[in-house]
């Protein structure tokens, strides 16, 4: 720091009242809405005396089902925020023609596209897949919990506080304007001296930490906690894709950590990793970030493909076609996914051989992916296909994903990529796969597993409307984007001031209309949740197996008891539950034993909140607060290791009571 900078306030650092953006009407209104909603929520919780319940049963819970649901709730809230950003961008681009500046100043617009990307990847897609994996995996492998229940809780809260950090930046200071991967030198100390990039870096750092912890946990869970007889080649495909995904998380997220840490060092301490002078090289950051970033793409998409495999088999009433080839396809995608990162920057100039290698590897991924698509088609072929909502998402996915996959192969050709790089065509491509595969899969997953989680189905009518509006909205929004990209429009453009591009306005107007149609898809999904909760008695499922499904999670009650299975299941076949049903499995009704379960802990949330305070303090250079919160954080984490009393037994009579209640419900069914 130069000597003429005024000394920092010892407590508030560089945080002053000017950091509150009260001169921006959009933000003030947003803040008012958020504050009102917050006051309403707090008031309601207090009025209904739910704080104790929330604390005991959810916040400190180590139950994998509860944690999974909390991840999904977080993701849905953040989806609303991310979607609002998308609508704002679409409106801006539709207006900003013929001399109009649009309604968003550059400083605000740049934050919006950055926040949209960061939120959708880190706080919507990632929590959705982690949440679904958390909920489903232990049930599918016949386990009672995960390997490390406390770490599971900690991982969730780290993700949650990182999401809070991003939202704090909306009202205190600013967010990064450097795009969702934050490439220097634009995000370096010189070009972005403000707090925006710091918010970005700390949010990524903390959520990355949470994801690694979750990845280690689920990987160990799948390896160590499978039910007897459940060998790897009998594992449900969703578990296989999750196994590969968590391996990818553990192998790739350290590189994100490194990239983010080194950029933080550059900004805080003036090191020269990614600066343009003193020997630094910004491309080093770009490489590191994409060594993580491309596997991240597969981290998000593989669980989606796993969901489709489950759904396709169940709703076609058949065993999944080509189980073994599905496993090998998944593993191939996992391995090849690690040697394609350079296709994100063919234009770096690494020469024909390097570009050729990475282009070839990228195109190669289309083969195992194609194998999967054919497997789903053959699963449906001559099956009795039931057009329930999850199946409709799956069919919509197959059509949408085909287009996204093909444009991806197109981009994989280095010569073509030089034209398409940084254009809206690329934006079209990755939204095509992100929405068509990941969002649709998570919608299907929520519809499919909702009855398992809550004991009642989701109203299909609104679900089907959601499918149609999302699908149509997607195509209306992104086909014009593809065309605009082929016409040469670069991504992240705020104002179209070139006279030669004025005829493109119609494309952006259509795209904006498409965005609103897709927004209706989101709204109908929320309506579906609301209507279903209201009509829950009519939609109640007491069988535990409303879809006539095939895997173990459907063998227990809905919602499952805290211990999942009164007796650990023994597996003989792929699709264990279908096998059990076919061979006349009868539910045991006596001989219950006490069940060993992990105890709840508050360490996860306390540590995460301290880390939130620490990161906020570092962002604003509040060194005193940072020091104190860090010391407290260490104390809490170390203190936790002195707790040896981490598990308890559910008494046999409690188990017997729970199970006889289920027997009664099943008998009512007849």
């Amino acid at each position: 720091m130069s000597p003429d900078t005024p000394p920092l306030d010892p407590i508030f650092g560089r945080l002053t009242l000017d950091a509150i953006p009260y001169q921006e009407p959009i933000l003030v209104v947003t803040f008012a809405v958020v504050a009102l909603a917050g006051i309403f929520a707090v008031g309601a919780l207090t009025y209904f005396r739910l704080w104790g319940y929330l604390w005991r049963e959810w916040i400190t819970s180590v139950d994998h089902k509860r944690i999974g649901i909390m991840y999904i709730v977080l993701a849905i809230i953040m989806l609303v925020r991310g979607f609002a950003d998308a609508i704002m961008m679409r409106l801006q681009q539709a207006i900003a023609f013929n001399g109009s500046e649009g309604y968003l100043p550059a400083h605000h617009y740049d934050q919006i596209f950055t926040a949209h990307g960061v939120i959708m990847i880190f706080f919507v897609a990632t929590p959705l897949i982690v949440g679904v994996m958390n909920f489903v995996i232990p049930l599918q492998i016949g386990a009672r919990d995960v390997s490390f229940p406390y770490l599971n809780n900690l991982g969730f809260w780290l993700t949650a506080v990182a999401a809070i950090l991003v939202n704090v930046s909306l009202f205190v200071g600013e967010f990064s304007q450097g795009g969702w991967v934050g490439e220097p030198p634009l995000t370096g100390a010189e070009a972005s001296p403000g707090v925006g990039v710091d918010y970005y870096l700390w949010a990524l750092q903390i959520s990355g930490l949470g994801t690694i912890i979750g990845g280690i946990n689920l990987l160990a869970t799948i390896i160590k906690m499978r039910a007897p007889g459940l060998t790897f080649m009998k594992l449900p495909i969703f578990c296989w894709t999750s196994l590969c995904v968590n391996a990818l998380i553990v192998l790739s997220f350290p590189f994100l950590t490194i990239a983010v840490t080194l950029l933080t060092l550059d900004r805080l301490f003036g090191t020269h990793f990614f600066t343009a002078d003193f020997g630094g090289n910004p491309m080093a950051y770009v490489n590191l970030v994409w060594i993580w970033g491309h596997p991240e793409v597969y981290i998000l998409i593989l669980p989606a493909l796993g969901v489709y495999s489950e759904v396709a088999a169940v709703f076609s009433g058949k065993r999944l076609f080509g189980y073994t080839s599905m496993v090998y396809a998944t593993v191939s995608i996992t391995v090849i996914g690690f040697v394609v990162w350079l296709h994100h920057f063919f234009t770096m100039g690494s020469g024909a051989s390097v570009n050729g290698f990475f282009g070839l590897m990228t195109a190669l991924i289309a083969i195992p992916t194609g194998v999967k698509v054919y497997n789903w088609l053959f699963t449906m072929y001559r099956g009795r296909v039931r057009f329930e909502v999850p199946m409709m998402w799956t069919i919509s996915f197959m059509l949408t994903f085909l287009l996204g996959g093909l444009t991806g192969v197109l981009c994989s050709i280095p010569a073509a990529d030089f034209q398409l790089h940084n254009s809206l065509f690329l934006v079209g491509h990755f939204h095509n796969v992100a929405i068509g595969a990941i969002v649709f899969a998570m919608m299907a997953a929520i519809d499919y597993w909702f009855p398992k989680a809550f004991g009642f189905r989701l109203e299909p009518f609104w679900g089907k409307l959601s499918v149609w509006f999302w699908t149509v909205g997607f195509f209306v929004a992104f086909l014009p984007i593809y065309v605009a990209g082929l016409s040469g429009v670069t991504r992240r453009t705020r104002v179209f001031d070139d006279p030669s591009e004025q005829n493109l306005q119609i494309l952006f107007v259509i795209a904006a209309i498409g965005a609103f149609i897709a927004l209706l898809g989101v709204v109908f999904f929320l309506v579906q949740l609301f209507v279903s909760i209201r009509n829950r008695e009519a939609l109640r499922d007491t069988t535990g197996d409303p879809w006539n499904a095939r895997t173990l999670e459907w063998s227990t009650s809905s919602p499952p008891p805290e211990y999942n299975f009164a007796f650990t299941p023994v597996v003989h076949d792929v699709d264990a539950w279908a096998d059990m049903k076919a061979r006349g499995y009868s539910r045991p009704s006596e001989g219950f034993k006490p069940i060993h379960m992990p105890r709840n802990t508050a360490t996860g949330i306390v540590a995460s909140v301290l880390l939130l305070i620490f990161s906020f303090a570092v962002i604003w250079y509040m060194w005193l607060v940072a020091g104190v919160s860090f010391a407290l954080l260490l104390l809490v984490l170390i203190g936790h290791t002195f707790n040896y009393n981490r598990s308890f037994h559910i008494p046999a009579d409690v188990v017997a009571r729970t199970e006889s209640e289920r027997t009664r419900l099943l008998a009512q069914q007849g």
Partner: protein, 217 residues
């Protein structure tokens, strides 16, 4: 339902077992594999730092280089580094002795060897601090060049691991004194020894790839 009949026949009419009636508590059955996976991700963290060093480590920006500190001396003092390497390797050996005693359940000797491990760790850190304090004195700092940024970050990352190990073993010692070498503490000791060996191996890589190859470059 033809498949069903085939499956049942395959079992020779015997009723299939679909659940276990007897089970045992399985505390900590995943701890060691979980720790292995964590170490794997930590290895990759260092891989990233080594890769950046391999790329930018030769960019001296007219500042100090391994063989020239700008004041007529060498920046890398191999004798100091050699001593530190010996300390590190020896501490790993001592840690192994501690593990032998831990396996036998001998609290006293185990704690003695663990204490010595930590002491060697402290000696290592002392050498590191003096060495890099000296570098800072002659103006070879974090901000001087990409080479020094990478180099010092790598060293700090490693030293930070050593420090973590020392704090860890101190806490573990308190816990062993409280609860003895119960299964939980034994698992923790196993994880600690894995961690300490990992730090040692990482240092060997630093020694070879940074110091030896640095002076040969």
């Amino acid at each position: 339902m033809t498949t069903t009949t085939t499956l049942s026949h395959a079992k020779d009419g015997e009723a299939p077992v679909f659940y276990l009636t007897e089970e045992h508590d399985h505390d900590g059955h995943s701890t060691v594999i979980g720790f292995w996976i964590f170490l794997m991700s930590d290895v990759l963290l260092f891989c990233g730092l080594f890769a950046i060093y391999a790329w930018l480590g030769g960019h001296y920006a007219n500042g100090p280089s391994p063989l020239d500190d700008g004041h007529g001396g060498q920046l890398f003092h191999l004798p100091v580094v050699a001593v530190n390497t010996v300390i590190m390797l020896a501490s790993s050996f001592i840690c192994a002795l501690a593990m032998v005693e831990t396996r036998k359940g001998n609290v006293g000797p185990a704690l003695k060897w663990f204490g010595l491990t930590a002491l060697f760790g402290v000696a290592f850190l002392y050498n590191q601090v003096t060495e890099y304090g000296h570098m800072a004195e002659i103006g070879a700092t974090y901000q001087t060049s990409a080479f020094l940024s990478c180099f010092i970050t790598l060293i700090i990352a490693h030293s930070f691991h050593v420090l973590t190990g020392i704090v860890w073993v101190a806490i573990l010692a308190v816990q062993v004194l409280q609860h003895g070498l119960n299964p939980a503490n034994e698992r923790r000791a196993v994880c600690f020894s894995m961690f300490w060996n990992f730090i040692d191996i990482t240092w060997v890589c630093v020694f070879i790839f940074v110091y030896l190859m640095g002076v040969l470059r």
